[in-house]
Amino acid sequence: MHISPVLWQFLVHWLTNSALFPPEASAISPYMDAFYFFLCAISAVGLIAVAILVFGFSILYRKEKSPVATQIEGSTLLEATWTIIPLALFMICFVWGALLYFRIYNPPTNAMNIYIVGKQWMWKAEHPGGQHEIDSLHIPINRPVQLTMISQDVFHSFSIPAFRVKREVIPGRYSTVWFEATATGTYHLFCTQYCGTDHSAMIGEVVAMTPDDYQKWAAGSTSGASLAQNGERLFASLGCNSCHSGEATARGPNLSQVYGSRLQLADGSTVTANDAFLREAILNPSTHVMQGYAPIMPTYQGQVSEEGLIDLVEYIKNLNSNYRIQQTLTTSQLAPGQAGASSSGTPQVNGPARAGRTAPSVPGTVNQ
């Protein structure tokens, strides 16, 4: 069967603009929708098959027409048929679904990172450049964006239906999701995991902007200090540098090349120092002692807020020269020639994208 491309275009256009179908606004959306249509198609086939059998037999073998029932034991061939055909279809679904899943949950290495902190009942977004937002998220289009998310209290779930992505935001551990927006606009952001009284008010908007507009927005909304700078201040005020001074005689390991490297722990295991490990090492240092160092680091549990931890992690990342170079590269990829033009620009955001509140930033919040 051949569908003319014009007709196909028309169908897709009609569907994506109807109120019965969500907008396709990310790179993954067309893949998700194609899989959805496949699943709908096999469901329709299955349902129609059952309906034909039930209604067909009901008409053919109703008592008036068929007063005598013929006893039939069964048929191994038929049993095999309706075992193997559904199994084969389900296996196609399994493979297709798995490929999609790995695509959605394995971020590309050049993604720009934004941190999300969920709490009852608001979303805080923290951009590395020091832009803080509440219940809104500004992102550039045509650029992979990775979100590193954590909850301050209960389970939340970060969902952007127009991008077809969603991931649970869990207390006590980072989870990540990535997407690449393809169309500018304002989209729904929902918390989809029930989280208490105002669950249905834990919503916001995702503002996808052209890279230029995003650059303007970022320049106008910055709090003046990047997350890493906040982290540096926090690092000093918590007294971290007294041990992690980077000198050969220091009591704590040198952190300058630590992010992304393989570390040898005192218990003999090795770990990769990623965001989650750094956070854990600050909160539960006694279970993550580096080889060659005494387990003397006190816990910072309850002393640093999740935002503070993000600042510290971002600071430690930035101590890593490779990471810094990579971030610089990805930033210059984003907007060539835009980097210096920001200071005089007004914090004007393009078009309908404007509504998000910008949170007043509190650099390196320390409780108590």
Partner: protein, 553 residues
């Protein structure tokens, strides 16, 4: 090989002088009975009460969702409504629905026994059910609980100020009622079968209850442990689930779903048993592929234990464990497909009539097929990311649990009503109810698939206005559905007094329960029956009927 079965002349039927209903009188004779049939009646009354209570909450939820604004009830009230709806419908209605009422009533008779293996434990299970229900009603009357039926930590342990412990205690106790029912069924089916009743002569109803009982006995203790941990975490803060004390909040999800996924099979398998009996009886034909249907129940029970993490695909379980659980989820879908096709094939060359139980069974097949296939959407890893926690999943499990299980329950209650009470329900009225339920159901829940793909999250009190049209459709459908459920509530009690006398075998069905008087004697059988034929042997029945006519005439 062909069978003509003529239905008995119901004008001549008389109510038997002595039956389990009139063997003893007085409240005490009911409350202290060991008779499985009376206990089934006690269960029938209790779960019907809780069904309408849970249904009332559902009605209020749908009424609130008529408009996008949160205008009918406050957010906290709304949260309590859906929590109580879920808790009551699942733990006080769906789990005991078919097993504790219809199963309790007919399983001993089907296997040719005088009672269940442990009659007193059977009674105890009803009392535990009532005790658990009392805790839940207490929690409800004192302000309710708003954890969601999943009791998710750390929300339930640290962040809510409602009657979490009372409600968890209620579910904990009601769980034991379910364990005892399952235990009783397993022992009865193993040890109490009459002479000649081999495993492969058991009605498929017994097979599916056997499979469900194994799930009850092995799964429910895990729920009990989980709830105890939640209670301890809430009261003394033991920190099993609390990340600040080194606990793991995901551990709760694993433990909870380790029970709660098999729980959906605890709910649906007995319903599948009903459908096998009904389809066979009204086709006057042996169930196509008896062994395939029997073993598919066991396969569902076995695979059902190893798919729980498919509730957690977006929760940061490792990608590779997600792969394994998705694969197993696909496998568990296959036995369900096998059953559907076998039932459809049973109709082939049958002699079909369309009494109410058959209409409900057709409703089950249609709605369960949709529910099962949309389960494949959710079991597919990538698709699950977009669909989970939205109205798509709400629609999916309502198609399975309400469209499937409730239809099967109503099919079962109508089918065995003549046996339970000795009287027929009014046929055309109940056919109207069956059709109303089906239409109302589709109208209520089909729009939720669409609004789910649009992204509307579940458990939302207020929603973006563009979703309103679909929600209005859904609420309109709920009204029709409500009428469909109220009708049996009216004509079933009516039939107790005014229904036609049923006679012992009004459907000309083959099960042992149909070969004894309606309603049965307390001891079920006068003589111990001997099973000398296969299950669903309509030729044996025709021969027997002919023989009876000749002896009487």
């Amino acid at each position: 090989m062909s069978t003509i079965v003529t239905l008995p002349n119901q004008e001549e039927a008389r109510l038997p002088k002595l039956s389990y209903l009139n063997s003893e009188y007085g409240l005490k004779s009911w409350l202290l009975t060991g008779d499985h049939k009376r206990i089934a009646m006690l269960y029938l009354i209790s779960i019907t009460f809780f069904f309408f209570l849970g249904g009332a909450f559902a009605g209020l939820i749908r009424l609130e969702l008529l408009t996008p604004q949160p205008d009918l009830v406050a957010s906290d009230t709304y949260n309590k409504l859906f929590t109580m709806h879920g808790v009551i419908m699942i733990f006080l209605f769906l789990v005991p629905s078919v097993p504790a009422t219809v199963g309790n009533f007919v399983i001993p008779i089907m296997v040719g026994a005088k009672d269940l293996a442990f009659p007193k434990i059977n009674l105890l299970s009803w009392y535990l059910y009532v005790a658990g229900a009392c805790f839940l009603v207490y929690a409800l009357l004192n302000g309710g609980v708003d954890t969601g039926w999943t009791f998710t930590t750390p929300l339930s342990t640290h962040y809510l100020n409602t009657h979490v412990i009372t409600a968890a205690m209620g579910v904990f106790i009601a769980g034991f009622s379910s364990i005892f029912t399952g235990l009783n069924f397993i022992v009865t089916i193993h040890r109490m079968r009459c002479p000649g009743m081999t495993w492969f002569r058991l009605p498929l109803f017994c097979w599916s209850h056997y499979a469900a009982s194994i799930l009850m006995v092995l799964g429910t203790p895990v729920l009990a442990i989980t709830l105890v941990l939640v209670m301890l975490e809430r009261t003394v803060g033991i920190g099993v689930f609390d990340p600040t004390k080194g606990g793991d909040p995901l551990l709760f999800q694993h433990l909870f779903w380790f029970y709660s996924h098999p729980a959906v099979y605890i709910m649906i398998l007995p319903g599948m048993g009903v459908i096998s009996e009904v389809i066979s009886t009204f086709s006057r034909k042996r169930v196509f592929g008896y062994t395939a249907v029997a073993f598919s129940s066991v396969a569902i029970a076995v695979f059902g234990f190893f798919v729980w993490a498919h509730h957690m695909f977006i929760m940061g379980v490792s990608n590779y464990s997600a792969l394994v659980f998705s694969l197993l989820t696909m496998l568990v879908a296959v036995p369900s497909a096998i059953k559907i096709f076998n039932w459809a094939a049973t109709l082939y060359k049958g002699s079909l009539t369309f009494e109410t139980p058959m209409l409900y069974a057709f409703g089950f097949m249609g709605l369960f097929t949709i529910g099962g296939l949309t389960g494949v959407f959710l079991g597919s890893l990538g698709m699950d990311i977009h669909l989970t926690e939205t109205y798509f999943i709400v629609a999916h499990f309502h198609f399975v649990m309400v469209g499937g299980m409730l239809m099967a329950y109503l099919a079962g209650v109508h089918f065995w009503w003549p046996k339970m009470t000795g009287r027929m329900y009014p046929e055309s009225m109940s056919q109207l109810a069956a059709v109303t339920t089906f239409i109302g159901f589709i109208l209520t829940f089909f729009p939720q698939f669409i609004v789910g793909y649009l992204g509307m999250p579940r458990r939302y009190h207020a929603y973006p206005p563009e979703f309103q049209v679909l929600n209005v459709l859904s609420t309109a459908g709920a009204t029709v559905l409500g009428i469909g459920y109220l009708l049996p509530m009216l004509y079933m009690p009516w039939s107790l007094k005014y229904g036609k006398i049923a006679g012992s075998n009004p459907w000309q069905a083959t099960g042992l329960e149909w070969q004894i008087q309606s309603p049965p004697l307390t001891e079920n059988f006068v003589d111990i029956p001997v099973m000398d034929h296969e299950a669903y042997d309509y030729e044996w029945l025709a021969h027997k009927t002919e023989h009876e006519v000749t002896t009487v005439g």
